[in-house]
Amino acid sequence: MTNLTAGMPGLLDTDAIRKDFPVLQRLLHDDKPLVYLDNAATSQKPRQVLEALNAYYERHNANVHRGVHVLAEEATALYEGARDKVAAFVNAPSRDEVIFTKNASESLNLVANMLGWADEPYRVDADAEIVITEMEHHSNIVPWQLLSQRTGAKLKWFGLTDEGRLDLSNIDELITEKTKVVSFTLVSNLLGTLNPVETIVRKAQSVGALVVIDASQAAPHMVLDVQALEADFVAFTGHKMLGPTGIGVLWGRQELLEDLPPFLGGGEMIETVTMGSSTYAPAPHKFEAGTPPIAQAVGLGAAIDYLSAIGMDKIAAHEHAITEYAIERLLEVPDLRIIGPRTAVDRGAAISFTLGDIHPHDVGQVLDEQGIAVRVGHHCARPVCLRYGIPATTRASFYLYSTPAEVDALIDGLHHVRNFFG
């Protein structure tokens, strides 16, 4: 690997990083080292995150807020400390703009529901239009379909070019004075495409539409600055960025969070309750009914510490180098078709492809036998598969611990797949 790394600027010291990830030491099928290329689905967790989870349960476990005993105060400080870490990580103007949810899907559903229930000027009703894109994960399609069905609002979407980019040619017809909300993914989980935020946000702002960004595939991999994005809401999930499952984030602009109605009702989200009615706590608590995922938030905080210590810019550079190398090597494989951009420019580290007529399930199965974990199927983005006339893809996705040697293992594996089904 030494020779390769010399020719690949930007690579991180993966030998050191990988030592922090116990699962990466695993051998599969007797003697094959795990080659984990399913990071777009979920990332592995470093020891530092696992230890934070353990320490929370072993020393500090209590329910948060209002408790007067030591453990309750410690648990509250840890939970709210995690909120501070998230706020700093995304450069939020205020910590009160960070809402903890269970995942990005819940974050997006929260926004869609609030906009259906809101008063003017935010209310999405039968006269309104909602704009999404054809490359969204189902979690950024279905909540808007539901909102559309419940309110009568019209759902519209950007199509895709053959190269796997958004087709912005009809942006003026899609985003109009009727548009109340534009929701799109920053980085596609299937195509890997990094979308042109500024163009879309400018247009949305010009018609007074709210902008929702699904940053699930961006937050783990690059510098995420909600102020620079100029969005109104940004959603992402913890488990794809070294954190535990069960914790997601919705960032929203403070004045919106103040104006919009609550999502779920329950403990924690209230100010006063009588049998007749209730008043609500200010954001973020207004949107966090019930006991929150405390340990998970603490784990996410530890993950953010880990990522920040390395530096999101350095992680992005590492993944860019790996992606560039992977695309180059994948294109050497006969009959392999990349679904998505065939360059590493404006692109994340998830690469989907088809391999001749061999079904992705069969590709994935034969790769698994060699210890290589990829994802196969429609990746919860079935409209993308329909757009490109394919039933499914195989997807390899990389992260900060991925190495050029793992790319080589994938390529060898794919040649083996071709021989097996040839």
Binding site: H29, H359, P360, H361, D362, Q365, V366, E369, V376, G377, H378, R382, C385, P391, A392, F420, F421
Partner: protein
Amino acid sequence: MKLDSMYQEIILDHYRNPHGKGLRDGDAEVHHVNPTCGDEITLRVRLDGARVADVSYESQGCSISQASASVLNDLVVGKTVGEAQAVQEAFLELMQSKGQGEGDEEVLEDAVAFAGVSKYPARVKCALLSWMAWKDATAKALGQQPAIND
């Protein structure tokens, strides 16, 4: 080596040269999908009294699901509905055996080759897709018929 237990040569043969593929006339048609992977099948059953006269299908999916539909066609066409249902139940039992079953070759013929697939939970649904579609379509076809006692 474990791979060979899943991808038996007999399965790969059916995958490369599927038997009975293509849609023909039928008494009932169903469309089944495997939402986790996007495999799809449209399957028609034609009955001749109590006998399975034809099973025709269009499908897309992995080698396991394609081969399984081909084997299904081999095994059930020409049998009475009752006999075919017994084969279907034997196949279902084999696929649910978590790698423990071997299957009765007298009943299952080529389908015993799928025994290895039952070790892979993610793939069992692939093998069962066409069989569940057949079961569903047959029930529909029977529902349209005057009562049959075989």
